[in-house]
């Protein structure tokens, strides 16, 4: 196993952990945390794997394109977190709930 593959696997583990927590936990703040962990995992896959060996000997080893994409992704994630938290706080002040109601299944 090489270093990039190693970090790719760690990223996948984070994704799976986040997904599990997203499903299991009822508290909305915890769900937001889970999504954040999951997105960190995706970013780790994106950047970690990019450090695999260069195509040609002379080419630079660091691929800037995944880095730029992950920067974009981090900003999108913070925007999502901000929006989600505002909605959750509003829900809390309207209903006193910090979890989703029972209208889920059918």
């Amino acid at each position: 196993m090489t270093q990039p593959v190693f970090w790719g696997l760690v990223g996948m583990a984070l994704v799976v952990m986040g997904l599990y927590a997203l499903i299991v936990h009822a508290h909305l703040l915890r769900k937001v945390l889970a999504l954040n962990v999951m997105s960190s995992g995706v970013f780790l896959v994106f950047i970690g794997l990019a450090r695999r060996a260069p195509v040609e000997g002379s080419a630079p080893a660091v691929d800037p394109v995944p880095q730029a994409m992950v920067l974009t992704g981090i900003v999108v994630a913070v925007a999502a977190t901000g929006l989600a938290l505002a909605l959750i706080v509003r829900l809390r002040s309207l209903t006193g709930r910090t979890f989703l109601g029972g209208d889920k299944g059918d």
């Binding site: 970090w7 760690v10 986040g18 703040l29 915890r30 962990v37 960190s40 730029a68 992950v70």
Partner: protein, 101 residues
Amino acid sequence: MAALSLLDWALDGLLALLLLWLAWRTLSTPALFQAVVLFIGFGLVLALVWARLYALDVALAEMAIGAGVTGALLLAALVRLEPPIGRGRHPARDDEQDDNG
């Protein structure tokens, strides 16, 4: 790529273990305040990982946005989710009411 030295592997392994442990604790610790603090720690360790992967831009952004601003947003939300009657300098101790499964 040249084989990594043992030291490199040890460092990588340590960081990865720390990262996974922080993530797990973030998602499973019963108190929400602790979870948020752990998440901020997770972000900081992740920034170290980015630095190790030669992604310094991402490391900076992770520290400032991923750990910093996101952490601040989460803490602020935690305070606002406090019950208004609760008196608290420590929003923290509010055990998560939904996680007693």
